[in-house]
Symmetry: C2
Subunit: 235 residues, 2 copies
């Protein structure tokens, strides 16, 4: 029975490996189920049997990297939870930056699919990750007591997903992602920070804003009427 499960797992691994290779070599468009099956030395039906769908293949790809992400993370529960949040952003975005074109293609492919849980980036486990850190921050007195951590965690995910999508579609310099996500998260945290904690977060906010300004690339040129200085609000 070992060989049975093993050959199954090996085939599965081979499919995922082939998917990786195909994306790396040919980008998102090169990854078709027929090409994948052929590359993995397997029938067209097999990826469907073993993974379920094309989207599941992509999901499996990302899941493997998520493992890598988790291992690169500082020990959970130790240290300042707020610092932990920003460290997580750094680790994640740095992971994407190491193999830019691959993750761009992967994200683009993922964004195309209409899976419910995945498109929200990345589903409940992610939600819990942020919510857990935020709850800790409430405990340490860095975040106001009445805060709805679930709503806040959702907000972080919106920012994460939005920035990653923007990064995947428009081409921006590496380093931009971290600054942009960090900016959005600092924004949110500023609003719920206790007086004692707001100083460091605000400093982060300003630092991120400056880093964004340095990466002035993707945003379309400001149209003439917008460059005009303030008009008084009265008609």
């Amino acid at each position: 029975m070992a060989s049975h499960a093993e050959s199954k797992a090996e085939r599965r691994a081979r499919i995922i490996r082939a998917a990786r290779a195909l994306i790396r070599e040919t980008g998102r468009t090169g990854l078709s189920m027929r090409a994948l099956a052929s590359r993995a030395g397997v029938s067209l039906a097999t990826p469907y049997n073993l993974l379920g769908s094309k989207e599941a293949v992509l999901k499996a790809l990302l899941e493997a990297d998520l493992q890598e992400f988790r291992e690169a993370l500082p020990i959970p529960g130790s240290g300042d939870p707020i610092e932990h949040i920003f460290a997580a952003i750094t680790v994640a975005t740095r992971l994407y930056s190491t193999e830019e074109s691959f993750y761009r293609a992967l994200f683009l492919a993922l964004f195309e699919s209409d899976n419910v849980e995945l498109r929200t980036f990345y589903g409940p486990d992610r939600q819990q990750f942020w919510a857990g850190l935020l709850r800790e921050a409430v405990c340490t007195g860095q975040v106001l007591a009445g805060t709805d951590v679930a709503a806040l965690a959702r907000n972080i995910r919106y920012v994460f997903a939005g920035v990653l999508h923007r990064w995947a579609t428009s081409s921006s310099r590496p380093g931009w992602i971290e600054a942009e996500i960090g900016y959005g998260v600092s924004l949110a945290l500023c609003a719920v920070a206790t007086p004692g904690a707001i100083g460091r977060i605000r400093a982060r906010l300003n630092a991120y804003q400056e880093r964004i300004a340095e990466h002035q690339t993707a945003e379309p040129a400001i149209p003439p009427e917008s460059t005009a200085s303030c008009r008084t609000a009265s008609v």
Copy 2:
């Protein structure tokens, strides 16, 4: 030459009208190019000639509603820009709520496509809309002077897109969208508000948070370990 252009425009309008009807009747899945052409009494090639692609059809659908949105908006440049921002959120989300299933299907269809400018919800004009209001708010002294309004506007769009995506995929009660978007925007504005303006925004933040709590539906049940109360940060 009038009849030429007219018949062209009329065909175009008929296609868009057919698209609306098809989505309304059969949802997102029922809108295929073949069905659309047939419904519009037109050849399969014609939508491609007149609109360009399926995505362009969807884009045109949304564009028409965007017009409706703009007209329902308070007069630009008049009144409190911060209030204007929240009013815009109300108007937009209310528009979606009037025909929930239609806009759900429309957004789902839009999210599926991989167009660069559209998936960022909704492109540069939107970006300018928020940026313009924020710039006004800087002028009125409600938003801190050094604020990067472009980055802030982008952040609002991330929230908008994220919430709409969540709304389109998971089913949540009408009214939730406005609260969730309002919450996210208040969060961001709190961080950049001047001392004089922060009071009203914080009040909004709390009000939205309460409204979100009332709509406790879509979020998956909190898993056991997360419900545990605070653990001290030390290992």
